[in-house]
């Protein structure tokens, strides 16, 4: 069942304007929060058990705790570079409720003691950038941003920065390098951003949804927030439901919600005459789930981790039995080959290698040992690089090939797809 905590008023026509937002009680929480001590807010967020909504699912309160306990300048960055294939929840949140994000950021900025924040939006979202910029202007005019916010003596400046098209910038250190005006290549850790981030200053990078979720948490308190979701992963989350489904869309449901219910009730089930074949539960980098695994799966971090997959960014991609898994893996590998930043050798060469192998398989030139080679290469890309992109490329390969090996072997042996017939080398090259 949909539970509208963040998306409650999204249907309201002018909700994206300041007036519309305030009409629904916007910025009330901010007034409340400004009276609190930063530590109180952090404790509240810790208590709520809010976990990063960007993909890694790292506890937000803990992340904030990593900041050095001194008063040197620090930055709060909002990661709105939503590049994970299958994900478009942040876009909706920014289109419909930019002020919710701004309010969340001001509160979080107060909590982590930051005076300057950036919203890094992926460059393709031109209209979103415009909406945000107008919203920021409005907020400045109304005194929710800038010097001495609402007479509390606190300052917080917010600016919107448009990216220029690179998936890797979704990685937090990549985002930082990009914001510094460099190639969006992830940086070596340590030092971690919380210690040395943007301009070598302590920096917190949070996903749009994470920052927005701070608002409801402080509104009714952590306990109320914990009512939703499970013990380990409390609260609600937006899921982008896409793929071969009747009603694709963004739905906010409590964590721990059954995946099959989600597909049936929210998604309206499979299209007529089609059977469920597989689901990618957390964006393209999450290992794929087969139909019978889907029956067991719940939409929370632990359950999916238990099935060897991950919640990721909450992009549920439904694949029905008309799709050829070899072909789809080809699509994904082309994506990762295209997006690898080229810094670390295993990722730079490995993604290209995987892409080429799949391409030759799809052209019907595959060799049987290529299937094992795929596994070997992917296995040796895992955890060998600065950032997680090589893992993101390796995990789908491992899951696709192990769970749908018959399709791969058929393709290699017959030179054509088990599902779609003729080998269509309609790859992107």
């Amino acid at each position: 069942m949909e539970t509208k905590l963040l998306t409650e008023h999204y249907h309201v026509e002018n909700f994206h304007t300041l007036t519309g937002y305030q009409a629904k009680g916007g910025y009330e929480v901010l007034k409340k929060a400004l009276k609190l001590q930063p530590q109180q807010i952090i404790d509240e967020v810790k208590a709520s058990g809010l976990r990063g909504r960007g993909g890694a699912g790292f506890p937000t309160g803990t992340k904030w705790g990593f900041l050095p306990k001194n008063n040197e300048p620090r930055y709060l960055l909002c990661n709105a570079d939503e590049g994970e294939p299958g994900t478009c929840k942040d876009r909706v949140m920014m289109e419909r409720a930019p002020h919710q994000l701004i309010e969340g950021m001001v509160i979080s900025g107060h909590a982590v003691g930051s005076k300057k924040g950036y919203i890094y939006v992926r460059g393709e979202y031109v209209h979103v950038i415009r909406i945000l910029e107008t919203a920021v202007k409005e907020a400045y005019a109304a005194g929710f941003l800038g010097k001495n916010i609402l007479g509390s003596g606190l300052d917080f400046d917010l600016d919107v920065y448009g990216g220029a098209g690179a998936y890797i910038v979704g990685e937090e250190t990549g985002l930082i390098s990009s914001l510094e005006g460099d190639k969006g290549q992830p940086k070596l850790k340590p030092p971690f951003p919380a210690v040395q981030g943007y301009l070598r200053k302590p920096t917190i990078v949070n996903n749009v949804e994470t920052l927005a979720a701070v608002v409801p948490i402080l509104k009714d308190g952590a306990a109320a927030y914990r009512k939703y979701g499970t013990e380990k992963s409390p609260g609600t989350k937006l899921f982008s439901l896409s793929g071969n489904i009747v009603r694709p869309g963004n739905y906010e449901v409590p964590l721990g919600y059954s995946l099959s219910d989600f597909i049936q009730k929210e998604g309206g089930g499979m299209r007529p005459g089609r059977k469920l074949k597989a689901v990618i539960p957390g964006g393209s980098s999450a290992p794929v789930l087969t139909a019978d695994e889907v029956a067991k799966a719940n939409l929370d971090y632990e359950s999916l981790a238990g099935l060897g997959s991950m919640l990721g960014s909450g992009a549920v991609i439904v694949i029905d039995d008309s799709q050829c898994m070899v072909d789809l893996l080809g699509v994904l590998m082309h994506f990762y080959h295209h997006e690898s930043c080229g810094q670390c050798t295993p990722c730079r060469e490995g993604t290209g290698w995987l892409d080429k192998i799949l391409h030759s398989i799809l052209e019907g030139k595959g060799r049987l040992q290529d299937i094992d080679l795929l596994l070997k290469v992917a296995d040796n890309m895992k955890g060998r690089t600065i950032c997680a992109l090589s893992d993101a490329a390796a995990l789908p390969v491992l899951s696709f090939v192990t769970k749908f090996r018959d399709e791969f072997e058929y393709f290699v042996r017959e030179g054509r797809s088990k599902v779609k017939g003729k080998a269509h080398a309609q790859m992107h090259h």
């Binding site: 294939p85 876009r91 220029a164 690179a166 510094e180 969006g184 896409s242 071969n244 694709p248 393209s284």
Partner: protein, 157 residues
């Protein structure tokens, strides 16, 4: 020889003041310059930027080559980008792209002779729940079929 217009130079200067470091202004400035140079960035553009911003040419060149939204060769007045990533692919994004190319009689990364259209396949544009989709210049067109896509494109000058 490419020249940045006065307004563009003003815009770039303001961007350089807007962020903590002037390097942060490279990406916004490249967008400004790309508009100036009708849709793509030539080497002259980069040299002009390097001179204006007083940043090593190689640095700007690196940034320019890294990001996909900077076009490295001329594009049509309507730059059609069709998403072919997984959510769109399972909903016929690639077929859509092929159809568009066939109808417009161009190949990928190519431009029609009249310079009206140029088509390219791109990765996920974050419109997965409304697949398949395409982006023409800055505008998103979603829930497309090959026919509706062509109707939209025919409407564009």
């Amino acid at each position: 020889m490419f020249q940045l217009s006065a307004s563009a130079q003003e815009k770039i200067r303001s961007e350089m003041k807007r962020y903590e470091t002037k390097e942060s202004a490279i990406i916004p400035s490249l967008f400004v310059a790309q508009k100036e140079n009708n849709g793509w960035v030539s080497d002259e553009v980069l040299q002009a930027l390097a001179k204006l911003m007083e940043i090593p040419h190689s640095r700007i060149h690196e940034v320019f080559k890294f990001y996909t939204m900077f076009n490295q060769k001329p594009v049509g007045r309507n730059h059609v980008q069709v998403c072919t990533n997984i959510s769109c692919a399972v909903n016929g994004g690639r077929e859509l792209a092929d159809h568009v190319c066939k109808e417009l009689k161009v190949g990928y990364e190519e431009m029609t002779d009249d310079g009206r259209f140029s088509v390219s396949k791109v990765e996920c544009l974050g419109s997965c729940t409304t697949a398949p989709m395409m982006q023409v210049n800055e505008k998103y067109y979603e829930n497309l079929t090959p026919e509706s896509a062509m109707n939209i494109l025919r409407g564009l000058k």
